[in-house]
C-alpha cells in the first residue's frame, strides 16, 4: 500500500499526540529535582519509598521514605501543580533517616524521593501512585 503524504502527516501528528498524552507531569517537576541537587542527575542507591499503589483519597496519601546515611530527603509529586511536597533535613539527634507523612496528590502520577547523602551525592527512587479522587482542590 502506498503511503500518501496525507497519511504520513496524519501518522506523524498521531504519534506526537500519543507521546504527549498525560502521564501527568507538571512543568518544572524535573527542574525542581535539579534545583535540589544543584544540577546533578541523581543516581540509584539505598533509598526506599513506601507509597500505596492505589490511593483511594488523593487528599491524604501516606508515604514513607527511608534512606540510610542521608543528610536531606526531598519528596516530589511529579504531577501536582507544584511538584515539591516536603524537604527533611536530619540533625545530629536523628535516630534514622526515615520519615513518614501524608501528602496530597492531584491525580495518578509518580512520587519521587531524592536523598542527599553525607558524601554530597544524590540518589533517588520513584513510585507511580494511582489516585481515584484528586486531592488538590481542583
Amino acid at each position: 500500500m502506498k503511503l500518501t503524504r496525507r497519511e504520513a502527516i496524519a501518522m506523524g501528528l498521531g504519534s506526537t499526540m500519543v507521546a504527549m498524552l498525560p502521564l501527568r507531569v507538571s512543568a518544572g517537576s524535573h527542574g525542581a529535582i535539579m534545583a535540589f541537587t544543584g544540577g546533578v542527575e541523581p543516581g540509584e542507591g539505598n533509598i526506599t519509598l513506601s507509597a500505596p499503589e492505589i490511593a483511594e483519597n488523593g487528599n491524604t496519601v501516606p508515604v514513607g521514605v527511608d534512606a540510610p546515611g542521608a543528610v536531606e530527603i526531598m519528596i516530589l509529586a511529579m504531577g501536582n501543580p507544584n511538584p515539591q511536597v516536603a524537604d527533611f533535613k536530619f540533625g545530629p539527634a536523628a535516630g534514622a533517616q526515615e520519615v513518614s507523612t501524608r501528602i496530597r496528590l492531584a491525580g495518578t502520577q509518580d512520587v519521587v524521593a531524592v536523598a542527599k547523602l553525607a558524601d554530597g551525592s544524590f540518589i533517588q527512587t520513584s513510585q507511580n501512585v494511582k489516585v481515584t479522587i484528586g486531592g488538590c482542590g481542583g
Binding site: 514513607g64 516536603a86 524537604d87 545530629p92 536523628a94 535516630g95 520519615v99 507523612t101 501524608r102 496530597r104
Partner: protein, 109 residues
C-alpha cells in the same frame, strides 16, 4: 491567626541509652493549599504550616519544610536517637507568622 490549631505528639515514656525511638506528631491545621477557589471563583490564598522542627535537649533531630502538598492536619513520623533523659521540643511555623510548640519528656536509663 490560624484558629483551632492543636498539636499532638506521641513519644515513648522510657528508652534505653542509645535507642532510636519513634516519634509521631500530628497538628490540626487546615493547610489551605492556595489551589482552591471559593463560590465566587476567587482563589483562596495559601495558608499552611511551612516548617516543622524537633530538637532533643537542644540538639536538632529533624527540620522539615512543608509545601502545600502536605495533607490537612499534617502527620509526621520520624526517629530520634536518645542517649540521656531529656525533653523533646516540637515547633511548627505557620505562613501567617504563628508558631506552635509542644514538648515531651523521656526518661532514658
Amino acid at each position: 491567626m490560624a484558629t483551632g490549631v492543636k498539636p499532638r505528639v506521641k513519644v515513648p515514656k522510657t528508652a534505653a541509652a542509645g535507642d532510636s525511638v519513634t516519634i509521631k506528631t500530628l497538628i490540626s491545621h487546615k493547610m489551605e493549599s492556595g489551589n482552591r477557589k471559593d463560590k465566587e471563583g476567587n482563589v483562596i490564598p495559601r495558608s499552611i504550616i511551612n516548617r516543622f522542627t524537633c530538637d532533643f535537649n537542644g540538639v536538632n533531630v529533624i527540620d522539615m519544610t512543608m509545601y502545600p502538598a502536605i495533607s490537612t492536619n499534617p502527620y509526621v513520623e520520624f526517629k530520634a536517637k536518645v542517649d540521656a533523659s531529656g525533653e523533646f521540643k516540637f515547633t511548627w511555623y505557620d505562613d501567617d507568622g504563628d508558631i506552635y510548640e509542644a514538648a515531651k519528656s523521656i526518661t532514658v536509663s
